[in-house]
Amino acid sequence: MLCLAGVSLAAEPVRIGIVTELTGKNALAGQQARRGAQLAVEDITGEGGIHGRRFEVVIEDSASNNAGAVNAFNKLAARGDLAGLIAPLRSTQVLAALPRINEIGLPTITGATNELITRLGCRWIFRNRTNDGLAAQLAVVYAVKKLGARRIGILHDTDAFGTGGRSALTNALRDLYNIEPVAVENYNTGDRDYTGQLLNLRNAGCDLVISYCTNEPDIGLILRRYRQLGMPYKWLGSPSSGTSISLNITRRAADGIYVFTDFSPERATPRGPTYRAEFRRRFGMDPDLAATQIYDALQLFAQALRRVAGRAAGQSASGIDPEALRQALLETRHVGVAGPFYFDQYGNGRHDEVIATIENARQKPLEIIDESAIRREPLPAGSIPPAPPYARWATAGQLVLEGIALGSIYALVALGFVLLYNAANLVNFAQGELVMVAGYLLATLATRIGPLPGLLVVLAVMAAGSVVFRRCTYDPIAELAARDFTAFIVTTLGASIFLKNLARLIWGAEPALVDSPFGHGSLEVAGIFMPTHEAGIVAITAAALTALYIFFQRTMVGVRLRAVAQDRETAGLMGIPVKKMIAIAFAGAVLLGGLGGVLLAPVYFVHPEVGSAVSLKAFSASIVGGFGSVPGAILGGLLLGVAEQLAGAYISQAFRDGIAFVLLILVLIFKPSGLFGEKSGERA
């Protein structure tokens, strides 16, 4: 009996459960993680598995959010055949799942760097990356000692990673050098515009800015803008500022900045070259942090497992005693692809950082610093130089210009809303996704046939697509929609979910980049920088609005459309083909959304969620201006664009999106007809 059990046990593979982000906003990281896991499994199998037992992984999806991560752990817990777990890269997800991880009681390796994770008393959690507290100390040491920075500013994401990084940096500055950051600025994940923050950092007289940014698209755009605005301070960025994705966004704009990271793609480690070559051969791209973190974590598990696999396993169904595996991990010394690993009593496994610079859009490692460089050396009082003066009006002017460019796009999208609302009393909740689709189409076409012909083709495709859109969301419910306004809201909500996920499937989660036909430089006039593309946005919007004005005032179709908007029934009685007019309004709305999309794409790049934010703002803008009113939509758009910029820079960046809605609710309460519109609050 015993012998039989032994045999069947030997045939049973050793399994590690992985929770990663297969779907949702970080699906790209999850895809890379899956690839890293695949290579690790093959390599470990090639080395003979775990004493003859096969090595396998089971992957569960966290859907890129906390509840999803908790669910995924529950699922893995229910299996009962796992030897160990790998938790997601995102700190907030790991913090959410920590009570579950504690209950499951299996050794769990995570790549999340928030310091708290290993300090909350969960004895099962291990971290195979440098934690934020240590990373921030090392970054501060480099900034002060090697780069000679004294007036240090901080820019951070408001998410768990960014806020954790901000406190770690502030603490490190205080503890090591007895100085405070001269400015702290923040943004919400996915904000599309960072001018206010960058200017505030300059105005505070920073000589160096340390950034803690979670997502590559954000830091990519931040660095691009940092160059376009000609900011005078140096930059030392968290790992995301030097990854291939963000360098692909910034192109050469990131050249010359510094990056502190525990993962440098070029770091020379014994396993590194073969791993990278194999990864490139298999997947046609360089391995990133997400892939390498999982690869190293699985290798760590394999090392520890080989030491305990022979021993008695107690009650465990996996044949591995969790307590013994935990002990073995604590004793493991391993040089992985990313660097050397050894675990301290808290489960922290990495203790060094690579400082790199960016050269020709590639990371170039400068040096490796570890704990031994950390020393308390308070700077004498008065060692911080005074801030250089700056021109206040230039900052305000810059912000207004920025606001007008962004507001132009709101205005175009808002006009799309107004057109449909006037023609058929419809509000299209998928308008933002039309913006997004147009952006993607341009991204696809611009590289093949050039930006300008691409733009024209996209508009033609959008016009044709409007027919499909109408047939799917409006025609089947036309009668119902006349009685019940929610019907069209629901069909377009469905369409919006559909289009977002279609885009994710076709174009992937990686933000698509588009080159502007106007270039990515900037014009400087009297201390104000106007990026050339944004000048282009304003020009094209002005041209489009003029064309629209002529269309409405001087053409028969335009006049008929206005008649339908004023009174649909009477217009019908007068012999105007109302159905046809509605079809034209659909085409117009889709085209305006499309135009907004192609103008938006080169500044803010394209990703599946890009449209939702813009369309909510545009809709608010049209209500603020006076819903149903064409001048109201334009003025409302411009007003909102400028208000957002000013409120963001002078009041609060984190609440900037909220400020737009506060404005909206105030207008709705006190002047429901809008600032520039006729009384229409009763129309619904």
């Binding site: 959410a96 609710i665 709705l668």
Partner: protein
């Protein structure tokens, strides 16, 4: 109603469902499925809340996710900062949400249709940003861990007991919704829904009955949120985003907005759908979106509409 023949099956069905609801937690094997059952019950409560505003009153609210969040954070903060016992914290969370329902409802319910929808989106966005950025109060994006009100020794046992708490509340909420619909207030709400002008000319204080509906909706949304916090034992802002509000509205519409049974069925169906369709993997949300659009086209009155059609065609 008076047909003798149809009375038996009509009584039989609720009994069968009742028995199923009671034995279900003993049939499921994994803690995971158990947790899903709890979540489905919580969605039922939140969707029933929405029924007051959208179903009875005909107003389109996209703020239910925000009320859900207020209930969850209300419970957490009452427990952690003011050391309320669990039961009072639960009620406190729901009442906090109802209070916000009053504060938001008073000015915005004068608006109609798209305007109200937009104002509720704005409110939800502000709540979300506040939860995320007021770190001194809410611990920001890192979220809060919630104490369990009792601990029977394992997650499975906890969820199983908590399931019955959720079901009891959901059943009470459903009965309350049915009672309200048959009351003067319910008839006033329906009158407002069908023709606000006519209702007000008949002496209905339209804004007041709407505000009450909004508060009831917020109360149930908050209660559901507070129970979510106790079931999940962890909350963070990112769960309470715009998608949650959309999901709750879609649950109600798929079930059938004019029926209490529909609200319940929609919440249960969509609560489980992601799990049943998990084999679709990357395609799930794509198909979900297409389904939402198609459901509106094929069955504008939701599951309840289909059911009514099926019953009436039998007779």
């Amino acid at each position: 109603m008076n047909h003798q023949g149809t009375k038996t099956p009509r009584l039989l069905l609720p009994w069968c469902l009742g028995v199923l609801v009671v034995i279900l937690p003993f049939l499921v094997k994994s803690p995971y499925s158990m947790h899903l059952l709890v979540m489905a019950g919580i969605y039922v409560i939140a969707t029933l809340g929405l029924y007051f505003v959208v179903g009875l009153c005909g107003q389109f609210s996209l703020a239910q996710g925000a009320f859900f969040a207020l209930g969850a954070y209300g419970l957490a903060l009452l427990q952690q900062k003011l050391h309320f016992p669990s039961v009072f914290a639960l009620l406190g969370g729901a009442l906090l949400a109802a209070l916000f329902g009053l504060v938001v409802g008073l000015p915005t319910l004068r608006l109609r249709g798209h305007y109200l929808a937009m104002a509720t989106i704005g409110f939800g966005e502000i709540v979300y940003l506040t939860l995320k950025n007021w770190i001194w109060l809410t611990n920001g994006p890192d979220g809060l861990n919630i104490r369990r009100p009792f601990w029977p020794g394992s997650v499975m046992a906890y969820d199983r007991i908590y399931y019955f708490v959720v079901v009891a509340v959901a059943v009470a909420a459903a009965f309350a919704a049915i009672r309200v619909r048959r009351s003067w207030w319910g008839r006033a709400l329906l009158a407002v829904r069908d023709n606000e002008l006519a209702a007000s000319s008949l002496g209905v204080a339209t804004t007041r009955v709407k505000v009450y509906a909004f508060m009831a909706s917020a109360f149930l949304g908050g209660l559901a949120g507070a129970m979510y916090a106790q079931a999940e034992t962890y909350i963070s802002p990112d769960f309470f985003n715009f998608d949650l509000s959309i999901m709750l509205v879609v649950m109600l519409l798929v079930g059938g907005r004019n029926s209490v049974g529909g609200a319940v069925a929609g919440a249960i169906l969509l609560g489980f759908l992601p799990e049943w369709l998990r084999f679709l993997k990357d395609y799930y949300m794509l198909i979900f979106g297409a389904l939402v659009t198609m459901l509106m086209i094929v069955m504008p009155n939701g599951l309840a509409g289909l059911w009514r059609k099926a019953v009436s065609s039998k007779q």
